[in-house]
């Protein structure tokens, strides 16, 4: 798989996460007030999006590195 095609797949996956989070924030904000482990879903969601971006970036580089080599 070319890196540009792989990049598009990764982008679409992240876009789904981001869009879901933003739409919930806009139309179901009460949902984000629920707590899991004593912390609101809003915080879980936000930290997940940041950690997910970092994780996917590393994974993408690793996957493209295999192709390069």
């Amino acid at each position: 798989m070319s890196s540009s095609r792989r990049g598009l797949y990764y982008f679409l996956v992240y876009l789904i996460f981001y869009t879901t989070f933003v739409l919930i924030s806009a139309y179901q904000p009460a949902l984000l007030e629920h707590e899991i482990g004593g912390v609101t879903l809003a915080l879980h969601g936000g930290i997940f999006l940041i950690v997910c971006a970092i994780g996917m970036a590393m994974l993408y580089c690793w996957a493209c590195r295999e192709k390069n080599t």
Partner: protein, 578 residues
């Protein structure tokens, strides 16, 4: 003393210090060291910047890791560091929404933009758009878009420099603007992209390291009930002129008075079950006054507390659209910022572009997680200036030690240096390379192109200094939002369609950039926020239904590009001849 409506007024607390700012000699010393070091670097690298490739793109020889940290240094402006920390300290979770949106934009940069931009461009954003067409129209559109976005981004940085220097170093506003302007012009003129890269690397590294140290100190200190006796009465109000440090915890779970050291999750969990004292501007009062309210910690950690994001908690469609539009602009804007895009030309190949973006995402993402703790730490540290949210991070540092305050203050200033130098370089490249060479067809040797770039850097820097001084009294933080919206509307549709649709024509690109830029600019100028903040008019009289343009103008730019491209596509016979 008691006000006629029954509220207690606090005109000053006996035995308590007001939020006063005095020149930190240590801070000035550390900042002077930074400046001396960065200027030394610039002069050292000056001999590597005699060719156009050296001056505008650092010969494409910057190591990907250095470029990745430089991305962080370029991107994490004063708005990110001081603005987000301050917003979290004052409104809680809402500031973190900016962190989420700003970082998400980097996903677009890595997965969609990074490698093609490196492959197709040389020095400027216009190079990428124009690589298939050699069109003066495209170069002109790209150059104007770059200049508009860079200028809108530059002004708040310069005003921010002036606003910072007074409380931090005890110097007047204009001196901060001139100091930053002079240093940055010297950095860009002498060492070009090489020295700019190293300044940004230094700044990005310091920002992440010292934010980590500050966060560890916050967690080590934990939370404690710390409301001063004079503020225990919830009806106590405060005037800005006599404001005392605020940001307190009224109660902790299970009647504790102090938690001791906490882990990150335990910190958030404990805060969620505590009661926080927050302060907000009382607009009923003739003189700036602030009233307090006790807020449940769980309420602080949910969206919708700030004026910017209050729309998420009401049913108005316009407010929802405004929120969605802002989050779209943050997502789409990052990968369209000219000063970010030109960093891709400083590495040797596409793999390095990819790896450096990943390093940038890691550094920026980590920093944005830290902003949550910095903001919440400031909210509960008893060191907030109720009249100036931008001072949250430096004052938080001062609650630990003067040395840390000096260091964070110096880093805050260096933050402005790194971002401004990137912006001036982007503007300089687009004038010398796109406008003079491609649009006006001037015959320039490499040396003449570099000379034109240097002269432009001086000119743009001087304009930024003048505007930074003229706009002193104006709240210009919204200009960063404008820059994101304009970049997302003008640049991203053209860039993505060029990469992914073979039917794109030069007329389509040119029309899309102009329509995206002008429509977003017009929308912003006619918005309620601008009516209120710039024209001092009733926002209800504004023409557009909500303030953030992205949700309308980004799709509009896509539609224009497709429609114009379909109307101007080459005929089959002409294509065959070619």
């Amino acid at each position: 003393m008691r006000h006629r409506n029954g509220h207690a007024l606090l005109l000053g607390l006996p035995g308590k210090e007001h939020v006063t700012y005095h020149a930190s000699h240590l801070g000035i010393g550390i900042f002077a060291l930074f400046i001396a070091f960065t200027l030394g670097l610039s002069f050292y690298f000056a001999r590597q910047s005699t060719s156009a490739k050296g001056y505008f793109a650092a010969h494409g020889q910057i190591h990907w890791f250095v470029n990745g940290i430089a991305f962080a240094g370029d991107y994490l402006s004063a708005a990110s560091f001081l603005g987000i920390c301050g917003m979290i300290a004052f409104y809680g979770y809402d500031g973190f929404l900016y962190s989420i949106g700003y970082l998400a934009g980097w996903v677009v940069a890595l997965f969609v933009i990074a490698e093609p931009v490196k492959r197709l461009g040389r020095y400027t954003f216009g190079d990428v758009l124009d690589h298939r067409f050699q069109s003066r129209g495209i170069k002109l559109a790209a150059a104007l878009s770059t200049l508009v976005v860079s200028l809108f981004y530059l002004i708040p940085q310069m005003v921010g420099a002036g606003a910072l220097i007074k409380p931090l170093f005890g110097l007047p506003h204009w001196s901060g603007v001139i100091l930053v302007g002079s240093v940055v012009i010297t950095i860009v003129v002498t060492g070009g992209m090489v020295s700019t890269t190293w300044v940004q690397f230094l700044k990005g590294g310091l920002l992440v390291v010292f934010s980590t140290i500050l966060t560890l100190l916050i967690l080590q200190r934990g939370l404690r009930v710390n409301v001063p006796d004079a503020l225990r009465d919830p009806s106590v109000k405060m005037f800005a002129s006599s404001a005392v440090p605020v940001g307190h915890v009224a109660s902790l779970p299970e009647g504790q008075t102090a938690t001791g050291p906490l882990g990150p999750l335990a910190y958030l969990r404990t805060l969620s079950r505590s009661v926080i004292v927050q302060w907000s501007r009382d607009y009923d009062s003739e003189t700036p006054a602030y009233s307090q309210r006790r807020t449940a910690g769980s309420d602080v950690l949910r969206p919708g507390n700030s004026p910017t994001f209050k729309g998420v908690r009401n049913k108005r469609t316009q407010d929802k659209l405004n929120f969605l539009s802002l989050m779209l602009a943050l997502f789409a804007g990052t990968a369209s910022l000219p000063h970010i895009l030109i960093r891709y030309y400083t590495v040797k190949d596409q793999a390095a572009a990819r790896k450096s973006t990943a390093v940038g995402i890691a550094a920026i993402g980590f920093f944005y997680v830290l902003t949550l703790f910095l903001g919440l730490g400031a909210m509960t540290s008893g060191a907030l200036d109720v009249s100036n949210s931008n001072m949250a991070a430096p004052l938080l540092a001062r609650s630990f030690s003067e040395w840390l305050f000096a260091m964070i203050s110096a880093i805050a200033f260096t933050t402005v240096l790194g971002t401004v130098s990137g912006l001036i370089l982007a503007a300089s490249g687009t004038v010398a390379h796109d406008l003079l060479k491609s649009v006006f067809k001037m015959e320039l040797t490499e040396q003449a192109e570099v000379r034109a770039g240097r002269l432009t850097a001086v000119g743009v820097g001087a304009i930024a200094v003048v505007l930074g001084i003229l706009f002193e009294k104006m709240n210009v933080t919204f200009l960063v939002g404008w820059a994101f919206s304009i970049a997302a509307s003008a640049n991203l549709p053209a860039l993505t369609m060029l990469l992914f649709w073979k039917g794109t024509t030069k007329q389509g690109i040119t029309a899309s950039v102009f329509v995206g830029m002008l429509s977003s600019l017009a929308w912003i100028l006619l918005s309620g926020d601008t009516y209120r903040d710039v024209y001092s008019l009733d926002p209800a009289r504004s023409i557009v239904p909500f303030s953030q343009p992205g949700i309308v103008t980004i799709p509009l730019a896509f539609v224009v590009l497709i429609a114009v491209s379909l109307c101007t596509r080459p005929k089959a016979s002409a294509t065959a001849e070619i």
